[in-house]
C-alpha cells in the first residue's frame, strides 16, 4: 500500500473519514471502486479495537542501570516504559510526521517563530488524582533545561531561553526562531510530571494510559490500564508486562513459542527463518537511521570533489541493501534525510551505481594509488562485509579501495570523526533541522564529514525560523543538493526497524517517527482472542 492510501485508511480507522469521502479520495488516487470498498471495510473493521487482555512484550535494550527518571531514559526499553505511563505536550502524526496535539491542545508561534504560546489541555488527571496545570508543565520543562540538568533532552531544549505562564497558557521564548519547536517537544524524555518531577523524578506518575504496577530495572515492568485516561483511542489491553530480553535468539524463541506477543530488533539475517513460523508476523517500518561511509572534505585526497563523486558513483546501493540488510531498508541518496521527515524534498534524482561515471570523475581527480577505508564491526551491523562489497563494486570502476579493519573497542574515539575515511551509522533526529545541525553545520562537534560551507550554515539558520512551509521545503531541497553533490557523505542505505508480533496482535501502527510505533506500541495495539 502506498503512503497515501495508508494515510486514508488510517483516517477511517481514526473515525475521521466516512465511506463516501474515502471512496472519492481513493478513486481520485487511481484505486478501483471495488478495491476501495474492500479497503474501507477492512479499515472500518479495524476501527473497533477489542478491549481487554494481558499484553506481553519481550524487548531488547534494558539494563540494570536504567533510571526511572524519564529525563535519563536512554534504552529502547525505557523509551516504551515512558510512553506507557506518560504524555508529552505534543505528539507526531504516525504517517506524516507532523506535530499533533497531546497535552497541549493547540499552539501559536509569533511571526519570527521565536515566541510560542501553548494552550494546555484541561481536565486531565495524573495517576495520583491531581489535575494537570500549566505549572506542572513549566516545572517539567524547567527541570530539563536547568543548567544542572542531566536530561537527555538538554540538546534539543537548549534554545529555550524563557519558560513562563500567561494565565493558563504556556509561553516559550527562544533565543532564535525555530519553526520546529512543537516537534522538538515530542522528545520522549519530556514526559509531563506532577510538579515537573521535582518532588520525585522517579515516581513514574504521569497522565498516560497505563499506571506502573511494578518495575525492576533491567528485568521487568508491569502496568495496569488507567481507567481515568483522558483519551479513549488508546490503551486497549487491560495490563502490560514488559520483559527485558537482550538476547536476539531468546526473543525469537519467546515469540515463536507464544510466550510474548511482540519483540523488537529482529536480526535481518534471521528474519526469513522467523517468517516461516505460522503464528508470527514481521513488522518492518521505514526508519531514519542510516549507515554511512564518511570522507573528510578538508583532508587530502578527499578535499577533491571529483574523487568524492567518483566514490559516490562507485557504490552499488541495491546490492548492499540486499546483502547487508536482507532488503529491510531503503537505498540512500547521499543526504541524511528520507521520506520519513516532514518537508522531505521528494523530487531529487536517485543516485545509482555507475562505474563509467565513477571512472570519469576518478580520472578527473587525478588521484592515483589506493584509497584507505577504515571500518569495524561496531560501525554498524555488517560494516566489514559492506566495506568489502564496496571494494568490489569500486574495482569495476578502476578505483582501488584498501579496507582496513579496526578494533571495535575505541573505534568511536580513535577512528570515527578522526580518520578521513571510515564507516559509521547515524540514528535519526526528529527534524531535518536537527539532523543537519548535529552533523553538517560547520561548527558542529559531530561534523564527521568536515563539511565546512558558510552558505550552507546560513541557509540552515534561515530555514529554522521560516514559518512558510513551501519556502522552507525549498531551502531544505537546496541544502540536500549541497550535501549530496558536494559533501563527504556516502549514504548507501537507511535501515528499517524490524520487529515482530504474534498474529493475534492487531492495530499495529507503522509510525515513521521512531522504532516500535514511536514507542507507543503497547498503547496502540489490541489482542484478538
Amino acid at each position: 500500500m502506498t503512503d497515501y492510501t495508508r494515510y486514508l485508511t488510517s483516517q477511517v480507522t481514526l473515525g475521521k473519514m466516512n465511506r463516501r469521502e474515502f471512496m472519492g479520495r481513493a478513486a481520485a488516487f487511481g484505486i478501483t471502486l471495488a478495491a476501495a470498498g474492500t479497503m474501507f471495510d477492512t479499515a472500518a473493521k479495524a476501527q473497533e479495537p477489542k478491549r481487554g487482555g494481558h499484553l506481553k512484550l519481550g524487548l531488547e535494550g534494558a539494563a540494570a542501570t536504567d533510571s526511572k527518571d524519564p529525563a535519563k531514559a536512554l534504552s529502547q526499553f525505557m523509551f516504551v516504559v515512558g510512553r506507557n505511563w506518560g504524555d508529552m505536550l505534543v505528539e507526531s502524526e504516525p504517517l506524516t510526521g507532523q506535530p499533533v496535539p497531546a497535552l497541549a491542545e493547540s499552539w501559536e508561534p509569533s511571526a519570527d517563530a521565536a515566541t510560542w504560546t501553548f494552550t494546555i489541555r484541561k481536565g486531565v488527571k495524573f495517576h495520583d488524582g491531581k489535575e494537570l496545570t500549566v505549572d506542572d508543565v513549566i516545572k517539567t520543562l524547567q527541570r530539563h533545561t536547568d543548567e544542572k540538568s542531566e536530561s537527555g533532552a538538554l540538546g534539543v531544549m537548549k534554545s529555550i531561553k524563557e519558560i513562563k505562564a500567561d494565565g493558563d497558557k504556556l509561553v516559550l521564548v527562544l533565543s532564535e526562531g525555530n519553526a520546529d519547536l512543537p516537534l522538538l517537544l515530542t522528545d520522549y524524555h519530556l514526559v509531563i510530571q506532577p510538579n515537573g518531577g521535582l518532588d520525585d523524578p522517579n515516581a513514574m506518575i504521569g497522565t498516560g494510559p497505563y499506571k506502573v504496577t511494578s518495575f525492576e530495572a533491567g528485568v521487568r515492568a508491569t502496568f495496569e490500564r488507567n481507567t481515568d485516561d483522558w483519551r479513549q483511542d488508546r490503551g486497549f489491553v487491560d495490563s502490560i508486562e514488559m520483559i527485558a530480553m537482550n538476547d536476539a535468539t531468546a526473543r525469537i524463541a519467546a515469540l515463536s513459542s507464544g510466550q510474548v506477543h511482540y519483540i523488537n530488533r529482529v536480526d535481518p539475517k534471521t528474519v526469513d527463518l522467523l517468517k516461516r513460523a505460522p503464528t508470527v508476523e514481521i513488522l518492518s517500518t521505514s526508519g531514519r537511521g542510516h549507515y554511512v561511509f564518511i570522507m573528510h572534505c578538508n583532508t587530502a585526497p578527499f578535499d577533491n570533489n571529483d574523487l568524492r563523486l567518483a566514490l559516490k558513483y562507485a557504490m552499488d546501493r541495491e546490492t548492499m541493501l540486499e546483502k547487508v540488510l536482507g532488503g529491510y531498508g531503503k537505498v540512500g541518496n547521499d543526504f541524511p534525510i528520507n521520506e520519513t521527515y516532514a518537508l522531505f524534498p521528494e523530487d531529487i534524482e536517485q543516485r545509482t551505481y555507475d562505474p563509467d561515471k565513477a571512472a570519469f570523475h576518478y580520472k578527473q581527480s587525478g588521484h592515483s594509488g589506493s584509497v584507505l577505508l577504515r571500518t569495524s564491526d561496531v560501525a554498524f551491523p555488517g560494516a566489514v562485509d559492506a566495506a568489502v562489497l564496496y571494494q568490489e563494486s569500486a574495482k569495476k570502476a578502476g578505483i582501488d579501495i584498501e579496507v582496513k579493519r579496526e578494533p571495535g573497542d575505541g573505534y568511536w574515539s580513535n577512528v570515527w570523526n578522526v580518520q578521513p575515511f571510515s564507516t559509521s551509522y547515524w540514528g535519526g533526529r526528529p527534524t531535518q533541522d536537527q539532523m543537519y545541525s548535529t552533523a553538517y553545520l560547520s561548527t558542529a562537534d559531530w561534523n564527521d564529514t568536515r563539511f565546512l560551507r558558510e552558505d550552507f550554515d546560513k541557509l540552515l539558520l534561515e530555514a529554522r525560523s521560516e514559518l512558510d512551509e513551501a519556502k522552507r521545503k525549498d531551502m531544505y531541497r537546496t541544502m540536500a543538493m549541497m550535501v549530496r553533490d558536494e559533501g563527504g557523505l556516502i549514504l548507501p542505505m537507511f535501515n528499517d526497524f524490524v520487529n515482530a508480533c504474534g498474529k493475534n496482535v492487531k492495530g499495529y501502527v507503522h509510525d515513521i517517527g521512531n522504532d516500535m510505533s514511536n514507542g507507543y506500541v503497547a498503547t496502540r495495539v489490541w489482542l484478538d482472542a
Binding site: 536512554l74 540538568s149 542531566e150 536530561s151 540538546g155 511494578s214 538476547d247 531468546a250 513459542s257
Partner: protein, 369 residues
C-alpha cells in the same frame, strides 16, 4: 550489549580467580608446608601453633590473605574500569551527550577529582560497609545486589544439588565398569556436553522443550510476586543447562582421582594384606582421592555463581552476571566494584572451604610431621 556481555564477564571473573587458583591447585600437597613463619617477631609461636592446630592456622592465614586479595581485586577493577575508553558521564549519555550534561554529571559524581582521591573515597565507604549508590539508577547498591545475588544463588544451589551427586555417582560408576561399555558411554556423553558451548546447550533445550514441545517455562525471568512453584518451573531449563555444562568436568575428575589411587602401591598392599574392598576404598583410597575432587567441585560451584552470565542472558534470568555486565557497560563504578568483590569473595571462600575439607578428610594432612 549482548555481545559485550560474554566478553566482559569471564574476563573479570578470571581476574578474581587468577589470584586464588594457583594456591588451591596444589592445596593437598602444600598445606602441610604453609606453616612457615609469617608473623614477624613470633616465629616460634606461629610455627608451634600451626603444628598443633593446622586447621585453625590455615583458616587464620587464609582469612588474612583473602582480605589482602580483596583489596588487590578492588584495585584491579578500579584500574581496569579507569582504563576503558570513556567515563561514566560520556558512556551513559551516549549520543545525546552535550558538553554541559557531561559536565553536570561529572561534577555531581565527583568525576572531576583525580582517580586516587576517588578510589580512597570509595574504599573508605566500603570498609564501613557502605557500597554507596549506583551512579546510573541512584539506588542503593547493596539493596539491588541482594536481590540479584539471591537469584544467582537460587539457580546455583539447584544446579549444584543435582550436578554434584550425579557427577560423583557417575564417576564411581565409570570406575566400576572401567573400560567397559557403561564407562565408554558416560565418557562420550560427558565429553560431548563439555565440548558444546553453554549457550548452544541452552538454545537446544529451549528449542526442544519450550518451542517444539511447549512443556517448559521460557523466559526464565523471576520476580518478587512469584510462588516457589513458579520459580522452580522457571529455572528448570537454565538449571538443566548448567548441570550439563559442569557435570563432565567433575565426573571425569572423580573417575581419574579414584583410578589413580586404586592403582597405587599402598592399595595393592592393602589388597595383599587381605582387607575387604569396601574397607580399602573407605579407609585408604577415599581420603586420598577426595582432595582433588573437592577442589574441582569448589571451582565448579564458584563458576555456577560467578561465570554463568551467558546462561543468564540466553534464558533472560536476572542474576548477578548480567547485573555486573550492565554496570561495566556504562562504567558504573560502585556497582562494578561491589560485584567484583562479591565474586572474588566467593572464589576465596569456596577454595578455602575445599582446602579445609581436604585436610579434615585426609589424616596425613591433619597431622603433618
Amino acid at each position: 550489549m549482548t555481545g559485550g556481555g560474554p566478553a566482559h564477564g569471564p574476563e573479570l571473573t578470571a581476574k578474581a580467580a587468577a589470584g586464588e587458583v594457583p594456591q588451591s591447585a596444589g592445596a593437598a600437597g602444600s598445606v602441610a608446608s604453609t606453616g612457615t613463619p609469617v608473623i614477624e617477631g613470633t616465629p616460634s609461636f606461629w610455627a608451634k601453633f600451626s603444628k598443633s592446630s593446622p586447621l585453625v592456622a590455615l583458616i587464620l592465614q587464609r582469612l588474612a590473605l583473602s582480605v589482602a586479595l580483596l583489596f588487590a581485586v578492588s584495585l584491579m577493577i578500579f584500574g581496569g574500569v579507569e582504563a576503558l575508553p570513556g567515563d561514566f558521564a560520556t558512556t551513559y549519555l551516549g549520543q545525546s551527550a552535550t558538553p554541559q550534561a557531561v559536565e553536570n554529571i561529572r561534577k555531581d559524581l565527583g568525576l572531576d577529582q583525580p582517580a586516587t582521591t576517588r578510589y580512597f573515597k570509595w574504599l573508605g565507604g566500603a570498609i564501613q560497609g557502605d557500597f554507596g549508590n549506583s551512579w546510573a539508577s541512584k539506588n542503593s547498591v547493596s539493596e539491588q545486589i541482594g536481590k540479584r545475588l539471591g537469584n544467582s544463588l537460587f539457580l546455583a544451589f539447584f544446579a549444584a544439588i543435582i550436578s554434584v551427586p550425579l557427577a560423583v555417582g557417575l564417576g564411581m560408576l565409570a570406575v566400576q565398569y572401567r573400560n567397559r561399555l557403561p564407562d565408554k558411554i558416560i565418557n562420550v556423553i560427558s565429553l560431548a556436553a563439555i565440548s558444546l558451548p553453554e549457550f548452544f546447550v541452552g538454545y537446544l533445550l529451549i528449542l526442544f522443550f519450550a518451542v517444539q514441545l511447549g512443556i517448559a517455562t521460557f523466559p526464565a525471568t523471576v520476580y518478587d510476586s512469584m510462588t516457589i512453584g513458579q520459580r522452580l518451573s522457571a529455572i528448570a531449563l537454565p538449571t538443566a543447562t548448567l548441570v550439563l555444562v559442569v557435570l563432565a568436568h567433575m565426573m571425569r575428575m572423580t573417575r581419574a582421582a579414584i583410578l589413580n589411587v586404586m592403582s597405587s602401591a599402598y592399595v595393592e598392599t592393602a589388597e595383599l594384606k587381605g582387607l575387604s574392598s569396601l574397607r580399602i576404598i573407605a579407609k585408604h583410597a577415599a581420603p586420598n582421592a577426595v582432595a582433588p575432587v573437592i577442589n574441582v567441585i569448589a571451582l565448579n560451584l564458584a563458576y555456577l555463581v560467578v561465570g554463568v552470565v551467558v546462561v543468564e542472558v540466553v534464558f533472560v534470568y536476572p542474576g548477578m552476571g548480567q547485573y555486573m555486565v550492565d554496570a561495566v557497560t556504562v562504567r558504573d563504578m560502585p556497582v562494578v566494584q561491589a560485584c567484583g568483590l562479591i565474586f572474588a569473595a566467593f572464589y576465596i571462600f569456596l577454595n578455602m572451604f575445599a582446602d579445609i575439607l581436604a585436610i579434615v578428610a585426609n589424616p596425613r594432612l591433619r597431622h603433618p610431621r
